[in-house]
């Protein structure tokens, strides 16, 4: 699943470590999220949305996936 986390993070001049600390995850998780290698859970997606003050749909791009 694609997302705009890296774009939003850089736009707000936040480092990966700072974002990780804010979301209570490791920096490796943020890296994997930004690379699209890992899909966030609902809880983490919600935390990210609160951090960026946006909706989940504005951050995470839902495409036509078989799993959905």
């Amino acid at each position: 699943m694609k997302n705009r986390i890296q774009e939003l993070r850089k736009g707000r001049k936040v480092t990966q470590q700072e974002l990780a600390d804010a979301l209570n995850v490791t920096r490796q998780t943020i890296i994997s999220l930004e690379n699209g290698r890992y899909n966030a859970s609902l809880v983490l997606a919600h935390k990210a949305a609160q951090f960026f003050n946006m909706t989940i749909e504005e951050i995470f791009i839902f495409e036509n996936e078989e799993n959905l």
Binding site: N24, T26, T29, S32, Y38, A40
Partner: protein, 143 residues
């Protein structure tokens, strides 16, 4: 975070208890079973000493974490990070499957050389399968 701290404190006490138990087993191996054959005594002693060392290391490591707020926070994040939890679950699942395959193969092959070894491995396979089945049933009911 406070719940995690309390959990860690309980874990430190558990490590101390288990380490003490293994220490007692070392003494028992040396004193009580001194007439046992070398292999049996060596295996028991080696296992107990190794386990004692591991639990002592874990005890000291976690006790040091409890004294430092920043280290405690880092450990909390590492432990509760959802990606790390997902990796651990996938690792366990794959490891179990591969281990069972290897055990079955070795069990069959060893049957041509030693019945005792083959039967022992067969028993291990059955125990692992039953434990896995029981855990599956438990978590299906729980979740």
């Amino acid at each position: 975070m406070e719940a995690f701290r309390k959990k860690l404190e309980r874990r430190v006490k558990l490590y101390a208890l288990v380490g003490a138990l293994f220490s007692i087993m070392i003494i028992v191996s040396v004193r009580v079973f001194k007439n046992a054959n070398d292999y049996s005594q060596g295996t028991a002693l080696g296992f107990c000493c190794g386990s004692c060392g591991v639990y002592l290391f874990m005890l000291l490591k976690n006790a040091a974490v409890l004294r430092d707020e920043e280290k405690l926070r880092r450990l909390y994040i590492e432990t509760t990070d959802e990606r790390n939890i997902a990796i651990a679950k996938e690792t366990m699942s794959t490891s179990y499957a591969v281990s069972m395959l290897v055990l079955v193969a070795v069990c069959v092959i060893s049957g041509f050389f030693s019945e005792t070894v083959s039967l022992t491995l067969g028993a291990v396979i059955i125990v692992l399968a039953v434990v896995r089945l029981s855990a599956g049933i438990y978590y299906k009911r729980k979740m």
